[in-house]
Symmetry: C2
Subunit: 112 residues, 2 copies
DNA sequence: TTTATGTACTTTGCGATACAAGGTAATAAT
DNA sequence: ATTATTACCTTGTATCGCAAAGTACATAAA
């Protein structure tokens, strides 16, 4: 214990809470595959690693929020392209509400 | 499995990420004890339960973010009043930044 | 006095999940 | 053949929220 700095830990947990939300958001714009989603999240400073994202995509697929298809890659092994489903879009809409509610809650807690 | 609805699960995880932040925020305004903090969070629609908050307060105390003292209650058993430390206030400031950064990240991810 | 009620703190067991680390496999370049 | 790159997957570990049950104190009711 005490290996991880507390604030880093809290940051990790904050990210954790919105990871599924972010992935659905990315896939709502265009189909994509794990490595690409990973890069996009890294660019947005949402630090995630492979061991996190692969199981997460599989879970979301199992929940019916996503489907996938294999596609040849211009170079390298084939890619597993994920596509958001109607159920996924519905879930995304609910997450939008949940997120906004949380942001508002924190705003109130922090200001007064 | 499949006991919990997915969106509920995501809400839970979103809350999880900010719980420590909320508690430090509440204690930054005035000293308080677990049951009272619990009510305050419930009023703010941050659903938390005893089994979550007690260990969390103990963890924060062990990290030096809080101290505590016992105080008699007007009625009922004595209360364990927690007080935020300088280190706690510093952590809170860092969490403010982390939170705002996250809010901005999500805003960008969701809009474009 | 005994019992019930309300308040408050604590602990145990379980399930979920992020991460580190390592593994598998396909393609292209050397 | 070997190496590098890209891509996907799995295992072990630690953390942590929650449900549930337990302990303890004070006061009110039976």
């Amino acid at each position: 214990m005490e290996v991880m700095n507390n604030v880093e830990n809290v940051k990790t947990q904050m990210r954790r809470g919105v990871l599924e939300y972010c992935i659905l958001s990315i896939l709502s714009k265009k189909d994509s595959y794990a490595s690409s989603i990973l890069s996009e999240l890294k660019d947005a400073r949402m630090i995630v690693v492979e061991g996190t994202i692969y199981p997460l995509l599989i879970r979301q697929k199992n929940q019916g929020l996503l489907t996938y298809r294999w596609e040849e890659s211009p170079q390298g092994p084939p890619r597993k392209y994920y596509q958001i489903t109607d159920k996924g879009r519905q879930a995304l809409a609910e997450m939008d509400s949940a997120w906004q509610e949380l942001v508002e809650t924190i705003r109130l807690l922090r200001e007064k």
